[in-house]
C-alpha cells in the first residue's frame, strides 16, 4: 500500500490550480516548506506572498485580495490559522462570505514531536461554528488533492485540514463533492463514521471486528460542513449504533456534528472517539496514537464494549 501525506496533495493541487486560473494566489506565514505551498511558489513566484510570521494579518490580506476578485489560498499550521487568526477569519473572511481557502496543515496529534503547543485539536470545532465556513477533512492524499482542486469552485470560505504524517492511500474516486459522505464499507452491526487519517484506521478496525462476527459499515465524512445528513441517517437506521472517530477533541468536531444530525432526525446511541478534552504532548506519531487509543486494537475493543453495553 502506498503512503503519502495530505499536505503533499495541497502543494500539488495548488500548482494545478495555478496553471488553470491566474486569479489563484497563495499566501504563507513562513511555513511554505512544511505546508507545501512552496510548490506553488516555485512555479508562480509573482502570485505567491510570504507574509512572515504574522498569521492574523495574512488572513486579513487574503480577505482584501478576495474582495477584488483574486482567489487566495492561505496556508499555515492548523493551530495558527484557526487559532491565532480566528478573529480575522470571523470578521474579515466569514462575515463577508469571501471565497478564501484556508489550509491548516499539521493538524491533530500526528504532528508528533513538536508537542501539545503545536497540535491542533479544536480547529474543526472553531471553523465549524462560523457562519458561511465550509469544513473539509480529507481522508488521504487522493481525496485531499481532489478537495483542493474542487475548492476553487466553492464560492465561500473553505477550511481544509491536512496532516503532516504519511498515511495509506485508500480513496478511489475522481471528484470531490462538497456535502457528500462516502460509504467505504457496507455492514449491518455498527456504523463507524470517521474523517482524516482515522478513515483508514476505521477500515482496518472493521476488518478486525469482522473476524469476531461484527459487520461494520464505514463512512468517510470528509465534508464535515455541510454534512451529508441522508447518508448518516440511512446508515443509522440500518445499524442503530453509531461510532465516530476523529483526531480532534470530542467537543465540537465530527462526533458533535454527527450527533447533531442524529438527535434531530433519528436518535440512536453514539460513541464519540477522539481526544478526551485534553491537550497533546511530544512523542512519535505512533506512540501518541497508542497513548490516545488510535490503534485498530484499541478501537476494536471500544467498539465491542459499546455494542455490548
Amino acid at each position: 500500500m502506498e503512503f503519502k501525506a495530505t499536505r503533499e496533495a495541497y502543494g500539488k493541487a495548488l500548482v494545478e490550480l495555478g496553471k488553470k486560473d491566474d486569479r489563484v494566489v497563495v499566501l504563507d506565514a513562513d511555513l511554505s516548506g512544511s505546508t507545501k505551498s512552496k510548490e506553488f511558489q516555485k512555479q508562480f513566484s509573482n502570485r505567491f506572498f510570504n507574509m512572515g510570521i504574522a498569521e492574523a494579518n495574512m488572513v486579513g490580506v487574503a480577505a482584501g485580495m478576495a474582495l477584488n476578485g483574486l482567489k487566495p489560498y492561505v496556508s499555515s499550521f492548523a493551530v495558527f490559522i484557526t487559532g491565532r487568526a480566528f478573529e480575522i477569519v470571523r470578521q474579515s473572511i466569514c462575515y463577508q462570505n469571501l471565497h478564501v481557502v484556508l489550509c491548516g496543515s499539521h493538524s491533530g496529534i500526528s504532528v508528533g514531536e513538536d508537542g501539545g503547543s503545536h497540535q491542533s485539536i479544536a480547529d474543526i470545532a472553531l471553523m465549524r461554528s462560523l457562519p458561511n465556513m465550509k469544513v473539509i477533512v480529507p481522508a488521504d492524499y487522493n481525496e485531499a488533492y481532489l478537495a483542493v482542486l474542487e475548492s476553487v469552485n466553492i464560492e465561500s470560505p473553505v477550511y481544509i485540514r491536512t496532516s503532516r504524517a504519511k498515511s495509506p492511500i485508500i480513496i478511489k474516486k475522481d471528484k470531490f463533492a462538497l456535502g457528500r459522505a462516502d460509504v467505504l464499507r457496507e455492514g449491518k452491526s455498527v456504523t463507524v463514521v470517521a474523517c482524516g487519517m482515522m478513515v483508514s484506521l476505521a477500515l482496518d478496525t472493521a476488518e478486525l471486528l469482522e473476524k469476531e462476527g461484527i459487520d461494520s459499515e464505514v463512512i468517510n465524512v470528509s465534508s464535515i460542513k455541510p454534512i451529508d445528513r441522508d447518508t448518516i441517517i440511512k446508515s443509522a437506521k440500518k445499524t442503530s449504533r453509531v461510532v465516530t472517530i476523529e483526531e480532534h477533541t470530542v467537543i465540537g468536531g465530527l462526533g458533535s456534528a454527527v450527533s447533531e444530525v442524529l438527535t434531530e432526525e433519528y436518535p440512536v446511541k453514539v460513541l464519540k472517539i477522539g481526544i478526551e478534552d485534553v491537550f497533546g504532548e511530544s512523542g512519535t506519531k505512533d506512540d501518541l496514537f497508542c497513548k490516545f487509543g488510535f490503534t485498530k486494537d484499541a478501537l476494536a475493543e471500544r467498539i465491542k464494549e459499546f455494542l455490548n453495553g
Binding site: 494566489v25 509573482n46 502570485r47 506572498f49 507574509m51 512572515g52 504574522a54 492574523a56 494579518n57 488572513v59 486579513g60 490580506v61 487574503a62 480577505a63 482584501g64 485580495m65 478576495a66 474582495l67 477584488n68 476578485g69 483574486l70 487566495p72 478573529e87 480575522i88 470578521q91 474579515s92 462575515y95 463577508q96 462570505n97
Partner: protein, 274 residues
C-alpha cells in the same frame, strides 16, 4: 489662498446629517464620527478619490476602507451625498433590516469597500486590496482611515510591516488622531507615541497635519497619491466631536448619540458656523 468654502459647507451639512442619524438611531458613536468628517469630505469632494456612484463596484475605482468602522455614520452621510444611495436611507441607521449597519457591511451597502468594525480588520484588508492591484495590474489607490486608539491593536503593525515590505505605494493610511478612546485619553490608556517616528521606522512616508484644515488635507493627499516608492501615513490631528462645542474633546461622547435637546443645540451651532 484657495477657497475651500464649498468643502466646509458640505462638511457642515454632513455633520448635521450625522447628528440626526445618531439621534434617530438612539445609539452610535458621535465623537469619532464628527472628527473624521473633514477627512472624508476632502477624499470624496476634494478631487482626491476616483469613484462612480452609479457603478460602485467599478474595478478601477479608488478604495476607501474605514478601519475605524464605528465612525460609519460619517461615511454613510458622505456616500449619500456622493450619490451612492438616497439620503432618506440615512434615517434608518442601525434599524432592523437597514443596509446601514452599526458598523460598515460591504455585503449590504453600495460604496462600502470592506466590512469593518472590529478594529484592525480594516487595515489588514486594505493591505490585501493594495496588493491585489499589483497582481491584477490595476492603478487604483487604497485609502484607509484609522483611529489612533486602534493602533493599539497588534495586527495594525503586522499590516504596516507587510505594506512596507511589499512597497505598497498605492496605500495611503490616514490616522484620525483625536487623542481619545472609550476609557480616556489615548496617552493615558496605552500610549502610542511617538507615532510619526513609528510609521517612519516601519517604512512609511509620514506627514503630520491638521485634520480639519482643507488646504493641509488636499495638499498632503495629492502628494501622497504621487508617491511611488512606499506607503504613506498621514497623521491628521483632529478634535473628537469637532463642530459641536459641548461634544468637542469630550470622551463622554465616544459612544453616545445626542439627545433631542442636544441635537437642537448642535444643529443651531452648525448652522451658525464656528
Amino acid at each position: 489662498m484657495e477657497d475651500f468654502g464649498e468643502l466646509e459647507r458640505i462638511a457642515r451639512e454632513l455633520r448635521k446629517d450625522v447628528l440626526v442619524m445618531l439621534n434617530k438611531a438612539k445609539s452610535g458613536h458621535s465623537g469619532g464620527s464628527l472628527s473624521v468628517v473633514d477627512i472624508l469630505v476632502a477624499l470624496y469632494f476634494g478631487g482626491i478619490m476616483n469613484y462612480d456612484p452609479k457603478n460602485p463596484s467599478w474595478e478601477d475605482r479608488d478604495r476607501l476602507v474605514l478601519s475605524k468602522g464605528h465612525a460609519c455614520p460619517a461615511l454613510y452621510a458622505t456616500l449619500a451625498k456622493a450619490g451612492f444611495f438616497e439620503r432618506e436611507l440615512l434615517w434608518t441607521l442601525r434599524r432592523l433590516g437597514s443596509p446601514l449597519q452599526g458598523h460598515p457591511d460591504s455585503k449590504k451597502l453600495p460604496g462600502i469597500d470592506a466590512s469593518t468594525g472590529s478594529l484592525g480588520n480594516g487595515i489588514t484588508q486594505a493591505v490585501g486590496i493594495a496588493l491585489a492591484a499589483r497582481v491584477l495590474h490595476k492603478r487604483y489607490k487604497v485609502f484607509c482611515i484609522m483611529g489612533d486608539g486602534e493602533l493599539q491593536e497588534g495586527i495594525t503593525w503586522e499590516a504596516f510591516m507587510a505594506a512596507s515590505h511589499y512597497k505598497l505605494s498605492n496605500l495611503i493610511v490616514i490616522v484620525d488622531f483625536n487623542g481619545l478612546q472609550i476609557d480616556g485619553r489615548v496617552m493615558d490608556i496605552m500610549n502610542i507615541s511617538p507615532l510619526k517616528e513609528k510609521f517612519e521606522a516601519f517604512g512609511f512616508r509620514t506627514y503630520e497635519i491638521g485634520g480639519h484644515v482643507y488646504k493641509n488635507l488636499i495638499d498632503t493627499l495629492t502628494t501622497a497619491k504621487r508617491n511611488v516608492i512606499s506607503p504613506t501615513a498621514i497623521i491628521a490631528r483632529t478634535v473628537k466631536g469637532y463642530g459641536v462645542s459641548f461634544m468637542a474633546n469630550k470622551v463622554e461622547y465616544h459612544g453616545v448619540p445626542p439627545s433631542n435637546q442636544e441635537l437642537e443645540r448642535a444643529l443651531k451651532e452648525l448652522d451658525n458656523g464656528i
